[in-house]
């Protein structure tokens, strides 16, 4: 036996030893330990600290001197009209933006799926909106809607219509924020849904056609069921992104005018960094966390049941 081992050489011995070690569970744990600890430090600790902070009155300027107040921050929230408004705006923004993004993205994916001339180029170009930094997008939109020299207003003026700095106009600013979300994300939906559609075998469409299914029926009974998983992922992710979105609103309107575009993320930021109310801001963040977790769990369960 020892002769055999010597024949294989020392490297082979080590290879074999490592091979046997790799099958041991403890080594697996050892390998994931750094990543697990890192996640603990970067994700879990701040989350639990945030949840803990929600039960304290704490100032950004002196976070160490905090006072335990139990559920007082949550009670304050119930009486805070701005919080209620920002929650409503957040839900509205998320609902409208994600619905529009999905519908338009689906339409675009169906169009791109057909062999339209120039579809390949369009597919590449369409991702530009998604990769564009948010600040650049906001500057473009603000410039386009600027009073006096913005292209939108120049066009409106030529048509004899009213002009304004539209981001400063109550009633218009919120739809503009929705439009920015939609403009940015529709191509991403389209590409993801298109990839999912491409994986559906053509034979299924041929079989459906032979069974007499029209375009709508083929879409309803062949395409839709097979893109549902990707759809679920896209919708869940974008509900979370939109619900938590801060930069688009903060950079374009700052939550104004007259609080018309105030969403929870901007209100939490203002409470923490302008009012210095760290504990109150944390309690609102906890509410956001609970809403998002509930949404995700319910949605995933529903999808699994289907």
């Amino acid at each position: 036996m020892s002769t055999r081992t010597e024949d294989k050489g020392p490297l082979a011995d080590y290879r074999e030893t490592f091979g046997s070690l790799l099958s041991e569970t403890w080594l697996g744990y050892a390998m994931i330990l750094p990543a697990a600890l890192l996640i603990g430090v970067i994700i879990l600790y701040p989350t639990f600290r945030g949840i803990q902070l929600a039960f304290f009155e704490a100032s950004l300027l002196n976070p160490e001197a905090k006072v335990f107040v139990g559920f007082e921050n949550f009670a304050t929230m119930l009486e805070d009209a701005t919080f209620r408004e920002s929650l409503w705006h957040t839900v509205l923004l998320t609902g409208i933006a994600v619905s529009l993004q999905y519908m338009l993205g689906l339409g675009l994916a169906l169009a791109l799926k057909e062999k339209v001339p120039g579809a390949g180029v369009f597919r590449s170009l369409s991702m530009i909106t998604w990769v564009l930094p948010v600040i650049v997008m906001v500057i473009i939109f603000r410039f386009m809607t600027q009073s006096g020299f913005g292209p939108v207003n120049i066009l409106l003026a030529k048509l004899g219509m009213e002009t304004a700095s539209w981001f400063g106009r109550p009633g218009v600013a919120f739809p503009l924020v929705v439009i920015m979300h939609v403009w940015r994300n529709v191509p991403f939906y389209a590409i993801a849904l298109l990839a999912s559609m491409k994986s559906i075998p053509d034979t299924q469409y041929e079989a459906a056609r032979l069974d007499g299914a029209g375009p709508l029926q083929r879409f309803r009974y062949v395409t839709l069921p097979q893109i549902s998983y990707v759809s679920m992922i896209m919708i869940v992710l974008h509900v979370i992104f939109t619900f938590n979105n801060f930069d688009i609103v903060y950079l374009s309107t700052g939550g104004g005018p007259l609080g018309n575009t105030e969403v929870m993320a901007t209100y939490v930021y203002k409470q923490a960094f302008q009012q210095y109310a760290l504990g109150y801001a944390a309690s609102m963040a906890v509410v956001m966390l609970v809403i998002m977790m509930t949404f995700t769990v319910v949605y995933v369960k529903l999808e699994a049941r289907d």
Binding site: T17, L61, G168, R169, P257, F273, Q275
Partner: protein, 455 residues
């Protein structure tokens, strides 16, 4: 057979003479454990032996394609003092403030540049090192303007060194006023009359613009300028607390004159279509000839090119020949006064490298370096805060900035965040015509009163 082979191979000692007892298995385990530990150490950060270069956060140096005269002079001066290089990181003031308030305890950065309201917040958060005797020992200490040093002082302790300052003034179209045969307005009533006259006489120009965007720092500063026309300080120290130092009527009057009459009145002085905009519309708007009056600091003087400027030659002509500077008009019951902007450079109280941070402050405020700054960013040095730095005012039209600077008041050392937040709400409600300015003044006054103990 295979099992027995594996077993015997695994149990082979590592060395031929079997003397150490270290098996390949043990060695492999040790290697795996070591790798995991090394990964952890790498992930959790390396050791800090305190030998790193000092770090400065700033947002002062010009960030364009021109040669960095000021920055180079500063770095050379620092290296001469410290004998090593400095790491400089640039952030916008908003980012800089946010990062510093949440992360200063890590010890980074060692020194930080900012605006006056930052100094107050950093002091209250315990993030600033008092400069005390060290500052007074600087060769150039005696040359600092008293009011600028006073602005850096909180409860008798100096927390920063000033390097630039300006007072907000009324910037007006001299050529337009000449055409109309008018003088710069002194009171708000005269100003509104003149603004409406401009609206009547000129199709492509509005009388005035100010900032009304929610969260706009500039909007807050413009409002404070008018507050200082009614009181020396919005809040004054009252024992360990603060006391509101303005009447509700004055707040209502300011809302009326500078927001309601501008945007919400029947014959507004400003363009209501430009409600909710900030400096991005205000300053370029004047530079592109869209407004007859704005409120601004000295930085406007050198702004003749860039994405926001439609015609660089026309803007240069406008700033050189057709622009005038005057004290801000004041409402009934008010007098001359304005927002004094003094910018500090400060030391992180949690820094491990305070000696190098002091070198940063000494180099930053060295009059020779500031003189280079005046070459690079002339607008920031029209009203210098050190007597060894010459004013960059090269045009008599801009000379009144010196007088305006003299009437400026620095912000009281309170946490301004809650005040600002309430201001934006009331200001927008008035500007959008949602509420009566005097009712807003009353309500705002009572809210400011309730903040006294929290500031």
């Amino acid at each position: 057979m295979g099992d027995s082979l594996n077993c015997s191979v695994r149990d082979y000692p590592m060395t031929d003479d079997h003397s150490s007892g270290l098996t390949r298995r043990t060695f492999a385990k040790g290697l795996g454990g070591g790798a995991a530990a090394a990964s952890l150490a790498g992930c959790l950060g390396g050791s800090d032996d305190g030998s790193e270069q000092a770090l400065l956060w700033e947002y002062a140096f010009p960030n364009d394609d021109t040669p960095p005269i000021w920055k180079d002079a500063f770095l050379a001066n620092y290296e001469e003092r410290a004998g090593e290089e400095l790491t400089v990181a640039r952030f916008s003031y908003e980012d800089l403030r946010q990062k510093y308030l949440t992360g200063a305890r890590t010890g980074d950065p060692d020194a930080i540049e900012g605006v006056l309201s930052h100094l107050t917040e950093y002091v209250k958060a315990g993030h600033l090192e008092p400069l005390g005797d060290w500052a007074e020992g600087l060769d150039h200490w005696d040359g600092f303007v008293d009011s600028a040093v006073e602005a850096m002082t909180y409860r008798g302790e100096l927390y920063g060194l000033p390097y630039t300052g300006n007072g907000r003034a009324l910037i007006y179209r001299k050529d337009i006023l000449d055409e109309l045969g008018q003088e710069p307005p002194e009171t708000a009533a005269e100003f509104q009359q003149l603004g409406r006259m401009v609206n009547r006489e000129y199709d492509d120009m509005w009388g005035y613009h100010n900032c009304t965007k929610d969260g706009s720092v500039r909007a807050f500063q413009e409002w404070m300028s008018h507050v200082y026309q009614h009181t020396d300080q919005l809040y004054v120290p009252d024992g360990d607390s603060w006391s509101l130092n303005v009447e509700a009527d004055a707040l209502g009057q300011i809302f009326d004159d500078w927001y309601f009459q501008i945007y919400a009145a029947d014959n507004p002085v400003g363009n209501p279509d430009q409600l909710g905009t900030g400096w991005q519309v205000n300053d370029p708007g004047f530079l592109n000839g869209q407004f007859a009056f704005i409120e601004c600091g000295t930085w406007l003087r050198g702004w003749t090119s860039g994405d926001n400027i439609n015609d660089s030659d026309a803007t240069t002509q406008l700033l050189d020949n057709d622009t005038g500077v005057a004290h801000l008009p004041y409402s009934e019951g008010g007098s001359q006064g304005t927002f004094l902007e003094v910018k500090p450079i400060m030391i992180n109280a949690h820094s491990d490298n305070k000696e190098r941070a002091k070198d940063v402050l000494a180099a930053w405020t060295d009059p020779e370096v500031l003189t280079k700054g005046a070459e690079d960013k002339s607008g920031d040095f029209m009203t210098p805060v050190h007597e060894d730095v010459e004013s960059t005012i090269d045009n008599e039209n801009w000379a009144p900035f010196t007088d305006v600077f003299g009437t400026g008041r620095a912000l009281a050392k309170i946490g301004w965040g809650p005040v600002r937040q309430k201001f934006y709400t009331h200001m927008q409600e008035v500007a959008y015509g949602e509420t009566d300015p005097y009712n807003a003044g009353d309500q705002f006054h009572s809210e400011l009163k309730s903040l006294e103990s929290e500031l």
